[in-house]
């Protein structure tokens, strides 16, 4: 089973990397970019076929390691 965990900064958390990317896009002349927030994507392959178990394991992984919930949110998707 394939899954994807997306980790993003919580709103209100300063994102200097996103700001730098935003500035670069604007200087490249990419049209209509209002703002950029950057984050991380984890593509994970799971053994087993139980979707509920997989979802629980992914949440556990995100809480324990993939995200720092002080500053980050995460979203778990089974693909």
């Amino acid at each position: 089973m394939k899954a994807r965990v997306t980790v993003t900064l919580k709103s209100g958390i300063l994102d200097p990397q996103g700001k730098a990317i935003e500035g670069a896009l604007k200087s490249l002349g990419v049209d209509g970019v209002a703002s950029v927030r950057q984050g991380k994507v984890f593509d994970i392959e799971l053994s087993g076929a139980d979707r509920a178990k997989a979802e629980a394991a992914l949440k556990d992984a995100a809480d324990k390691l993939l995200a720092n919930t002080v500053i980050e949110n995460y979203r778990v998707e089974l693909l």
């Binding site: 958390i13 300063l14 200097p16 990397q17 390691l65 993939l66 720092n68 002080v70 500053i71």
Partner: protein, 233 residues
């Protein structure tokens, strides 16, 4: 003072730290590999040194914070043992839950490697008793992610409880925006845990302890720890 210095893959300041500890205490520090599940018997100070544990993968300190030895450190801290984390060590302590908050990318995005001034906010703690309250010391920093942030409530609690021990300041002790090198909340350079036995700080006091280094302002921190532990013994 029997100190234990933790060693993770990618750490590079552990020998500087061990040298400073030897200088202050006269005893060799034990070097403890991250896969160990126990600290050496009789340890009374655990030091998490600086460097780039696990290449700063995922988030600075995130992977080191989940290594086996950190369970032993958590237990040691819960029993009141003294823990000092410097630079990457501060990041590891935050990631491990021993200290609140997080070290974010420096506000102006640059890696900063230079001497800075710190104001010692109080002198009645094991980590600052070698200084006077309000004293300004000069120590180096070398980090890309040292911008201390926590939610407003947490920062307020740190302030109310007097847990900010070191703050970035100008040479004459003024805390202002210009001296806040990395954009940290309230110019925070170092904080202690609620119980006061775990200190995390971004600057490197261990790199200003000998005349040949051009400055010895970092000595006070280590001398203070030695004095505290001698008194307790």
């Amino acid at each position: 003072m029997k100190s234990a210095v933790l060693v993770f893959p990618g750490i590079n300041r552990e020998r500087d730290m061990a040298r400073a500890l030897k200088l202050a205490s006269g005893r060799d520090a034990a070097m403890v590999w991250h896969a160990e599940t126990a600290l050496p018997k009789g340890t009374d100070l655990v030091v998490v040194p600086g460097g780039f544990s696990y290449g700063d993968y995922l988030r600075c300190g995130a992977i080191a914070a989940r290594s086996p030895v950190m369970d032993a450190v958590r237990k040691f801290a819960a029993d009141g043992g003294l823990v000092l984390g410097v630079c990457n060590g501060f990041q590891i302590l935050c990631e491990s839950g021993l200290l609140p908050g997080v070290l974010m990318r420096n506000a102006r995005l640059k890696f900063i490697c230079k001497d800075v001034h710190l104001r010692v906010e109080r002198s009645d703690t094991p980590f600052t008793r070698g200084y006077n309250a309000g004293q300004v010391i000069r120590v180096p920093v070398a980090h890309g992610e040292g911008n201390y942030e926590a939610d407003e409530e947490t920062v307020q609690r740190l302030e109310d409880e007097g847990r900010v021990l070191y703050r970035y300041c100008s040479a004459d002790g003024v805390v202002d925006e210009a001296s806040n090198i990395n954009g940290a909340a309230h110019s925070i350079a170092g904080i202690v845990s609620a119980r006061g036995n775990v200190l995390g700080m971004m600057p490197h006091p261990e790199n200003h302890v000998e005349d040949i280094m051009g400055c010895t302002d970092g000595r006070g921190l280590f001398a203070g720890l030695v004095a505290h532990l001698e008194k307790a013994a």
